[in-house]
Amino acid sequence: MNHVPDIYRIAPEVIFTLTGIAIMLLDASIPLSWPRRNLGWVAAIGTTCALWASVWQLSLPDGTGFFSTVETSPFTVFFHVLICGIVLVTLLLTLDTLPTGGHHQGEFYALVVFGAVGMCLLTSAVELLLVFIALEISSIATYILAGYRKHTGRGPEAAIKYFLLGSFATAFLLYGIALVFGATGTTQIYAIARLAPTAPNHGLVVAALAMMLVGLLFKVSAAPFHVWTPDVYEGSPTPVVALLSTAPKAAAFAVLLRVVYEMFPNLRSMWGPLLWVVAALSMTVGNLAALRQQNVKRMLAYSSIAHAGYLLAAFAGTGATGIAAASFYAAAYAAMNVGIFAVITLAAGYDENLSLIDDFRGLIYRTPLLGGMLIFFLISLIGIPFTGGFFGKFYSFTAAVNGGAVVLAIIGLLNSGLAAAYYLRLALASVQKPQATDAMAPKPQAGAAVIAAIFLAAAATLILGILPGATLQSAQTAARALQSPPEPPPATSSPIQSPQ
């Protein structure tokens, strides 16, 4: 086996970090009168490079670097590409919609890129402490981004809620890591996977699993750890929500997959029923609450909780089927959700002139293309065939049925019928004739970047719906990579005796 330099294992993260540092330095050094918007292009170019570097990592032999803390495998590449894609679309979206002047635009772009470092690292870390650090990197960036609209009351409120609840959840994760270290004497995921079944204190391992699940389920906003979601989404700027509702969740799901399928596969009897309940609860709670919302962003917040539930249904699938379905769903969900938030950003403007569902009435008459896009993404969220949302649900529930969870699949699909009601309310509002009393929102100004963003999201949603083969194949390769951990290096990681 030829040796791979460690730095290659974290190439995308390195590129992201360098981009972020470059943006901050440029922001500080260029004259104040110069527009900061171009820094966004720097970030976008850096993200494209990182995306390319992630794909390039496929040519490396699978394996770990930096003393078995970071891994590259088809699994990490899948999620890297996904996260880089989301970040790229978000950056393109903000380029045209972020108001110029008065705001700390340079910081914004730098924070997005730094957040991406954390998310990418999260998916490739195979050492729990690194997982924790990566989670913090990504979380801190998103906490700040959530409060980016300082001038409104909602912005800081959102940031503080997110921060307090988020750090509380991270503490659970950290406690879980501590417990698993106590039980097995290591924090390396593969080592834990080997040692956990024979760990002398089984209760400790179970407690660790429970703690870690709490932390991760909070991050993916699954019920009953979802209460922060609507407030944070409502208060954050819409382009930030586009990022917030997709990329960190994808990363957290990647970690969740690692934890349950790679670290504790033999505890399936524990986490299986648990995630079953969480999945059913998330779908139902999310959809029932979304039905009652008038505010579009709150509605989509609850819908994202429901989607976390659909994704968790895939965890009922055994082995590679479940992992592949979950990964595919993460991709499909990300494409359509980024897309719909992009459309809403453009239609409502950064200052959210349109916030209620009724405000969107007649959108298709004002701007037919934008209205059409809104309907398209909503259709995908409903799960109509020939869109990414359908195959996401299809694979997820097929995995569930495969794993014997027929009831969960029925609950899930009935839920998607329920969900159709509120998605359609928005879609049908946008095709209704505008009434004379309706406040006319200014016609959105669409620049090239934001058009590219919406186009990318729409193309991804459509491709996932018509030709899902390629993505599914890479998801399956990723799943197999996660299923077959590399041979343990014999001497280096001799387990420390568990402290008794």
């Binding site: 309907i375 529930f397 699909l413 049908l428 083969g469």
Partner: protein, 499 residues
């Protein structure tokens, strides 16, 4: 074997879609979308005519079959084909598309681009339902057919469009959730979505009967809502009341009825037989209930909605009688009913455009002003109520007579009562709209009679009604060749199976 045989179904599916894309790309000039839509639908109709022209009657299995792998795992393929059952339904769909375009010609005045683009997408979806032989592909088209419909109802609804659209969408979408679970469950157990494979594997009895009962029930439930069958018809009247005329023609009936025949009776003959008595009872209730409600409606779209419930229930009765003749009659009745309905809707839509109301009481004495409208309407009405020598008679007679002879006399008599009521409300409608003293509305709004395009599309329909009434044998042979009696002697009538 004709040169384009392997391509024809793809062409049929792609033609409307291509037209939709073309309309979406070109500007919304005066009547440009209308013309593109008309030409596309006529072209697609010509393509569908290729099918009966080159169909080999008597050859078992599917013809014009295309089976291309689409997704490797799970194995979903683009598998389409027609047999005697779907053959004429495809042609019917092709025929009704230009009728729909003509019906919308004057009715749709704003946002033509969106209307016609979505209308054509709807055509593709419906044609796809009839030709799909892969369950996921089928499900895809089935769901896809909801979207343009819901959007168009919301956009062009008379006053409560959004509400009706939501109702329509949810009524059909929610029952298709168990349907998808059932399809997936079949796949997990049998490893295929291919209709033919599934049929033989289910017949071989490898699946536990208890689970199959629920799977079959999920199929039945999803289709019964779409038909609709009696207690599940809640969406029907509102949709008829709000939907643009061109869509009202296609919203109810054939998709659900075809699916019942192909995928419920066809895939699960034993389970379908077991539940047939219940469905028959519901169908007869639907016939009578629909007819009674139709008698008292004041709005002609609502009247047509309940009339449709009554007539469609009769076809359901034909399907679940489990007789070979009954099935043939049911398919024939689908063809006849959809065609007659299309003609009636076209005429009612023309009245609505001219007088801007749908209340029956506002009309009266229209025949003196619009004699051609009245003539065609009477002809179509006679076909609908089953006058001998017109198309409606054949199917009704076959269904009622087999029900009487092979299933149950009681149900047959009750159903015949519904048919009599049908004559009552339809003739009353004719009388109140066209005859009697001229109403103030009619005299205050001098309106032109049917124009050339409307005549050009109605005349072939009326001729066809006559031909279908006189020479049903032209269709029966091909339809019969498509109805394979399921292996387990399922073609025995239900009554004999009872202890």
């Amino acid at each position: 074997m004709h040169l384009i045989d392997p391509l024809i179904l793809k062409l049929i599916l792609l033609a409307p879609l291509a037209g939709a894309v073309l309309i979406a790309l070109l500007p919304d000039r005066t009547k440009l979308p209308n013309w593109i839509a008309l030409l596309t639908t006529l072209l697609a109709f010509l393509f569908t005519l290729h099918l009966p022209a080159h169909f080999v009657t008597g050859q078992p299995g599917f013809q014009f079959e295309v089976n291309t792998p689409w997704i490797a795992d799970p194995a979903i393929s683009f598998h389409v084909g027609v047999d005697g059952l779907s053959l004429w339904l495809v042609v019917l769909t092709g025929l009704l598309a230009p009728v729909g375009v003509v019906a919308s010609w004057n009715a749709i005045q704003s946002r033509r681009k969106i209307f016609y683009a979505l209308f054509l997408v709807q055509q593709t979806a419906m044609l796809g339902v009839f030709v799909s032989l892969d369950l996921i592909l089928y499900y895809g088209f089935w769901e896809l057919s909801l979207v343009p419909m819901a959007i168009l109802i919301a956009m062009y609804g008379r006053n409560q469009g959004a509400k009706a659209a939501l109702k329509f969408f949810l009524f059909t979408f929610i029952p298709s959730a168990p349907l998808l679970v059932a399809i997936v469950w079949l796949y997990v157990r049998l490893g295929t979505f291919n209709f033919v494979d599934l049929q033989s594997q289910i017949a071989s009895g490898v699946l536990p009967a208890g689970a199959l009962f629920w799977v079959a029930l999920a199929f039945l439930f999803a289709f019964a809502v779409k038909v609709p069958v009696f207690p599940l018809h809640g969406w029907l009247a509102d949709t008829f009341n709000e939907a643009p005329v061109a869509l009202t023609m296609i919203v109810a009936g054939k998709l659900g009825l075809y699916s019942l025949l192909r995928f419920h009776v066809g895939l699960f003959p034993q389970q379908a037989r077991a539940i047939a008595p219940l469905v028959i009872a519901l169908a007869v209730i639907g016939i009578l209930y629909g007819a009674c409600l139709a008698l008292v409606q004041r709005d002609f779209w609502r009247l047509m909605a309940y009339a449709a419930l009554s007539h469609l229930s009769l076809i359901v009765l034909g399907i679940y009688g489990f007789t070979f003749t009954g099935w043939t009659g049911a398919v024939y009745q689908i063809l006849s009913h959809e065609m007659v309905d299309a003609a009636l809707f076209l005429l009612l839509g023309a009245l609505e455009v001219r007088y801007a109301t749908t209340l029956i009481d506002s009309y009266g004495g229209v025949a003196a002003r619009l004699p051609r409208t009245a003539t065609y309407f009477v002809l179509a009405t006679l076909a609908m109520i089953g006058l001998p020598m017109l198309s409606g008679f054949v199917g009704e007679f076959v269904i009622l007579s087999t029900t009487f002879a092979d299933v149950s006399r009681g149900w047959a008599i009750a159903a015949a009562l519904g048919v009599i009521l049908g004559a009552a409300y339809m003739l009353m409608l004719v009388q109140r709209l066209f005859y009697g003293p001229e109403s103030p509305l009619v005299s205050s709004k001098p309106s032109p009679d049917l124009d050339f395009s409307e005549l050009a599309i109605l005349t072939p329909l009326v001729v066809l009604m006559l031909v279908m009434g006189l020479a049903p044998a032209l269709w029966f042979n091909q339809i019969e060749s498509g109805i394979h009696p399921p292996p387990s002697a399922a073609a025995q009538p239900v009554a004999e199976a009872r202890p």
